[in-house]
């Protein structure tokens, strides 16, 4: 209904202004700009509301200033089975500090008005299902989010959310893992929108010191199956790893290592925490800039 009205408002042959781009197109524009500049994407993950709502917005601004291409905003959930102890504890902290879904959407709304980088929500399907797909997608759109990563929603259960995201112009980023058989990985790669999330190791989230064997070959193989950018995550903590992965992938996701930084700085005044996050992200962003 809304798009009809907008279509009438827009002159027939006028170029679509940037502000009318769908969220997923803004994400694509970021990858296109990176490609043109010979850069790779740094995609940090932070937990919404950790350590509190106001600091969360400032942390997202710091990540943006430090040169991240996009950001995943982790939505705290009480029973996250895909996450290791670092992210799990951050969820517990944020929930303990009173974060709600309204609070998370508020953080996204405020931050997305102030930053350049697209923000995606990393949310358990438990939360999306409970709110209702239509409402969750509408709230995400209103909050300026570019899409979702839903770590506990496999291909077989995803048709409804997929359809809602396509209608709303939001990305639904899918994950492939080392245990995914090739024919299944191909299907997942084909269905993924925005980008494809290549999980580097079998296991839960958490920083690791070395790159798993076979990762580079796997990324090269996936590239023959999909046109969307391929980002690698799970276990990347330092600039050397980030540089090595960025040599073959389109970008690097850094989660637990950043969340640990936030946890360590949580007792400091907000300015120091924010400065610490910026100092942590900047060299990683440089490392993937080629």
């Amino acid at each position: 209904m809304k798009s009809n009205t907008m279509a009438h408002d827009t002159p027939k042959f006028a170029p679509v202004p940037i502000s009318k781009l769908r969220p997923i197109d803004k994400l694509a524009a970021v990858f296109a700009a990176n490609r043109a500049a010979g850069r790779k994407a740094l995609a940090p993950f932070v937990t919404a509301g950790d350590p509190d709502v106001a600091t969360s917005v400032a942390v997202l601004e710091a990540i943006d200033r430090a040169g991240a291409s996009l950001c995943e905003l982790g939505v705290p959930y009480s029973d996250p089975i895909a996450d290791g102890p670092v992210i799990q504890s951050s969820y517990t902290r944020a929930l303990g500090a009173g974060i709600t879904l309204e609070g998370m959407f508020g953080i996204a709304r405020e931050a997305s008005a102030r930053v350049q980088m697209p923000i995606l929500a990393m949310a358990s399907y438990s939360l999306i299902f409970r709110r209702g797909i239509e409402r969750f997608v509408a709230d995400a759109t209103a909050a300026g989010l570019a899409g979702f990563v839903v770590p506990d929603l496999p291909l077989e259960e995803s048709d409804e959310l997929d359809a809602a995201c396509r209608t709303a112009g939001l990305a639904l980023v899918r994950l492939v893992t080392p245990t995914t058989p090739p024919d299944r990985a191909e299907q997942i790669a084909r269905r993924s929108t925005g980008f494809l999330y290549c999980v580097s190791v079998a296991g839960v989230t958490g920083a690791r010191t070395e790159l798993p064997p076979g990762l580079i070959e796997r990324i090269e193989w996936l590239r023959t199956k999909t046109d969307v950018p391929i980002l690698v995550g799970f276990g990347i903590s330092g600039a050397d790893q980030a540089r090595a992965v960025a040599a073959v992938a389109d970008g690097v996701i850094v989660g637990s290592a950043l969340v640990r930084q936030v946890a360590e700085l949580a007792s400091q005044p907000r300015e120091q925490l924010v400065a610490g996050v910026e100092r942590f992200i900047a060299p990683l962003a440089t490392a993937v800039s080629g």
Binding site: P80, I81, S126, F129, P151, R174, P178, T179, R184, A202
Partner: protein, 408 residues
């Protein structure tokens, strides 16, 4: 008889019981769940698998378990005749062993020599440790640290049989957190490890597999009732936490619509949020631990805190097939408080010479009260899912008794 649709023809290929069930898990686990589903289909079609399991159920577990007339409890209630299906006489003292032997054999077929499990009351942990000792498999059991405290005898027994017990300190330190930790272990070990889930919960195909292995309870009960009474019972009752003993008891009865089926949940201290663990009585549809079912949760979908005096029922979710039966109205679900369950423990201990588990005591409390309202011509079968030895110390503590069971 009218041609009613068979309620037993679930789940479908995607693991759906009506709208419930399914598989909501990280992609890392998808291949292992597919493998388990394939292997289970092969095993079911393989007569040597069933023969091996049957031989173990007979000589190792001691099946079939008896159907006992609870004479003095029946006299006390003064109504319907009460019978106990004696799962407490199974090896390890509860029904859990029916499932762990079956899944242990599946793990061996899949070439997986390491087993992980979660446990609440410790009965599933003990049953898993037992199967692993019998089969020579490595065994790690995750158990909330609050439950480690409440169920110390079971923790000791697991260790005696060579299992490693890992106390879980996160969250509420109970069954739900133990499942989270077991899932996380499995995420990193899935290629060499099988996760023996202990209840009819979790992602497809677990709810179906656990129900099938536990259905030996209901199949034996149907046969015993036909032989002893020449007919099926009027009412069958079982306690429901995740719901494995109830699913195994009810499943062979669901297509016999004349039999009334009743599941009894943990009513805890009160009906207030956080005071009970009665998902089907007070919960709403949601996704927890990989499947869609009734869940105790807040308006955002965060899992709620729960309480029960019984560690095995202290869980905010329930098996998806129970949600299906609930919505169809095929099974009635009700709840019994901590106090009523403790009273039933005393009643059955003194009048029958049987110490029931606190989980089971919930079903017994409802049964004693209901039997009083029914005529003596009716037959009421209680699934006596487990023995109460493990609870003795906790009952003494809750009652303010000394360790030897005397007063203060």
């Amino acid at each position: 008889m009218p041609a009613a649709p068979a309620l037993s023809s679930v789940p479908d290929a995607l693991g759906r019981f009506g709208r419930f069930g399914g598989r909501y898990v990280p992609e890392t686990l998808s291949a292992a769940l597919d493998q388990l589903e394939r292997e289970y289909a092969l095993a079911v079609a393989d007569p040597t698998f069933q023969a091996e399991l049957d031989a173990l159920l007979s000589a190792f577990v001691g099946r079939p378990t008896p159907l006992l007339f609870a004479k003095r409890l029946t006299e006390y209630a003064g109504g319907a005749q009460i019978y106990f299906k004696r799962e407490d006489l199974s090896h390890t003292g509860a029904h859990k062993i029916n499932n762990t032997l079956g899944q242990g054999l599946l793990a061996i077929r899949m070439g997986k020599r390491r087993i992980i499990a979660e446990t609440g009351a410790g009965q599933h942990g003990v049953a898993t440790a037992t199967a692993c000792a019998r089969f020579g498999l490595d065994c790690v059991v995750y158990m909330g640290s609050e439950d480690v405290r409440r169920q110390a005898p079971n923790v000791r027994n697991m260790r005696f049989m060579g299992a490693e017990v890992r106390p879980v300190e996160s969250g509420s330190r109970t069954l739900r957190d133990a499942i989270n930790e077991a899932m996380r272990d499995w995420m990193g070990s899935v290629e060499t490890t099988h996760y023996i889930i202990g209840s009819v919960v979790g992602p497809h195909p677990f709810p179906r597999i656990v129900r099938d292995f536990q259905s030996v309870i209901g199949r034996e009960t149907v046969e015993q009732c036909r032989r002893q009474f020449g007919r099926l019972p009027d009412t069958v009752v079982a306690c429901v936490g995740g719901g494995s003993n109830a699913a195994g008891m009810f499943y062979p009865f669901v297509d016999h619509r004349e039999v009334r089926l009743v599941g009894v949940e943990a009513g805890g201290r009160s009906g207030q949020p956080g005071d009970h663990a009665a998902s089907l009585s007070y919960g709403s549809p949601g996704i927890l631990h990989g499947s869609l079912s009734y869940v105790l949760q807040d308006q955002d979908g965060q899992t709620a805190d729960v309480h029960s005096v019984s560690a095995g029922l202290d869980y905010p979710g329930v098996g998806p097939e129970h949600s299906y039966w609930r919505d169809l109205g095929r099974v009635e679900y009700t709840s019994v408080t901590d106090g009523e369950a403790l009273d039933a423990f005393d009643l059955v201990a003194r009048r029958e010479g049987v110490l029931p588990a606190l989980e089971t005591s919930h079903a017994l409390a409802w049964a004693a009260e209901e039997a009083a309202k029914r005529p003596p011509s009716e037959i009421l079968v209680v699934c006596l899912s487990g023995r109460g030895d493990k609870d003795a110390a906790e009952i003494a503590r809750v009652r303010g008794l000394t360790a030897d069971g005397s007063g203060k």
